[in-house]
Symmetry: C2
Subunit: 337 residues, 2 copies
């Protein structure tokens, strides 16, 4: 396996990375605020509520860092626009996902749909989507639009595919990886590629960034899915075993189903089919996952994906920015501990 | 008031208009089918179900006719793409509106959300939206994207504004006209303008087409709102007084509220606030509307809008196509009788 670039330990904490890029990140905030403030009351209120809900701005941060990777450059307005556009599309998906999942909480706060209702969440989501596409279009570059819109299409394709396999046991790892690639990794990959495009990098380097984003995005989703079975709801704002109750089959469960005995399998299938999972049944399934090392298996897959992501950074010179991306890649795994 | 162009009576029935343009309309169907077929199962199924649900393809038809208005031209691929893109955006709004309104039926058939659920309707709507924008982008014209995306933004702006005034009696005619201009007329206006753009008409003529569409679209929505109080549910697939029950204030009700006595007003306000409208209460309100000529008032507003639309066609030479647009403009009013 190819080696990933050396890590100098320049960044020691998450905060250090975010602080290093706080100026361009603030420009993204300002750009998004400007978009929202020009809109009606309700759009501005909901938009600000969800955008200020504690999201880490991982996509804007990736865009900003990646654009500097090929030698120091001015951040420039273009990358701020890309970062803002991507964050708005991501925000739409959060608003719509909360309606789709009947979510009560998002990051430990009431979800927008609980405060303003499903109608407003759907409509404001649609509006932010159009705003995101419009901001991308303002760069006046058809190649950028193509990449951006492809990611938008893939996101919903992935989510729709996932819906098709709702409570459906004809599910395989191959389908799982296809879903996460579309629903999560495609937008992160596009973010990194677009960043390289506006920084006028060579096509090969743009492709490296796209691959970096694709692997990183996949790892991110795999960890997210594993957290569902180990997460602390206090920290993550998630409820243990929510995916299982919702009938969403993810990697830990797939692994468990492929390893456990016939009787054990029956129990898992029953829980998955009905969505009725008592606390006792959940604990049993979590125990089985421990026994068969299903979480470990998932986290190893995520680690492989992170390593595969990092390798793509070898063709860029070492810099603070490359170190920042390497830190973020590791952080995807670390965030659960 | 400016005079509208003379009408020769070339078209006598709706069918004649549709048949005259059946070839390019079929090309639009083919283009949309091609988009859907390349997608996953669920997207194709839902997309086809709603697109084959008896919609009249008024927007594609307007695009096709308008592109020929300035002297006979080849329809060309570009107008087919515009028509397909606009119809996909419209389809998204239908899918999302049905979720927002908890609609059980659409055009006398089960709504998509009844068959596939809200989740699928939201996601497939999002997907068709991205597909629509992508088709517009495939024309590689930033000016086209600007007009198209502005319409997308206005649609959701209008719908969000409407939501803000849900069951809210601080509602005025001015707000009503702003809402319908955004939520309905903006896309129809953009359709007509874009059609002039791809036909390479002079900017003044593109503007005339945009104004034609804006007035026509407004008339269309005013009639739609009036039908809610006079419509035949057998024909229109609508339930009498649905807007009232849903707390949506539209022109007939606004008119009634501005004319009726204090006691009568109390009844209407009560119905609007609670959404609880017995059959008897509904009949009383319909009677009041008859007494104060509220439907007549609305239909007159629609007629004015249609006449204002037609005037914009004066600067185009007389042709079958201009006659077709004049027929369609009249049809907006006639469809309720």
């Amino acid at each position: 396996m190819a080696k990933s670039p050396p890590e100098t330990g320049f960044f020691q904490t998450r905060q250090q990375v975010w602080e290093h890029y706080q100026h361009p990140l603030q420009q993204v905030e300002d750009r998004i605020s400007k978009t929202l403030d020009s809109q009606g009351h309700l759009i501005a209120n909901i938009g600000k509520y969800i955008l200020n809900g504690g999201g880490k701005r991982i996509r804007p941060l990736l865009a900003i860092i990646a654009s500097n990777l090929d030698g120091e450059r001015n951040f420039g307005e273009a990358v701020i626009l890309i970062a803002s556009a991507v964050e708005l599309i991501h925000t739409t998906s959060l608003l719509h996902d909360d309606v789709i999942d009947d979510a009560v909480k998002r990051r430990n706060k009431d979800s927008a749909r609980i405060i303003w209702g499903n109608k407003a969440s759907i409509l404001v989501g649609d509006h932010l989507y159009a705003q995101g596409v419009s901001i991308a279009e303002s760069l006046r570059d058809h190649a950028i639009n193509d990449i951006f819109l492809e990611a938008c299409r893939l996101m919903t394709e992935g989510e729709t595919l996932q819906l098709t396999y709702h409570r459906n046991l004809d599910f395989t790892e191959e389908i799982y990886f296809r879903i996460i690639k579309c629903k999560t990794a495609a937008l992160i990959s596009a973010t990194c590629r677009l960043s390289g495009m506006v920084a006028k990098m060579e096509p090969e380097k743009q492709e490296m960034l796209a691959q970096f984003g694709l692997q990183l995005g996949s790892a991110y989703q795999i960890v997210d899915d594993a957290l569902d079975y180990i997460g602390n709801s206090q920290i993550w704002g998630k409820f243990l075993g929510k995916d299982l109750r919702d009938g969403e089959i993810t990697l830990p469960l797939l692994h468990l189903l492929s390893r456990c005995g016939k009787e054990e399998r029956k129990k898992v299938e029953e829980a998955l089919r009905t969505g009725k999972v008592s606390h006792k049944a959940l604990l049993q399934i979590l125990n089985l996952m421990r026994q068969y090392k299903s979480i470990e298996y998932s986290m190893n897959k995520a680690r492989e994906s992170v390593e595969a992501a990092k390798v793509n950074l070898c063709s860029f010179p070492d810099s603070i920015h490359r170190q920042a991306l390497l830190y973020l890649a590791n952080y995807v795994i670390l965030r659960d501990h």
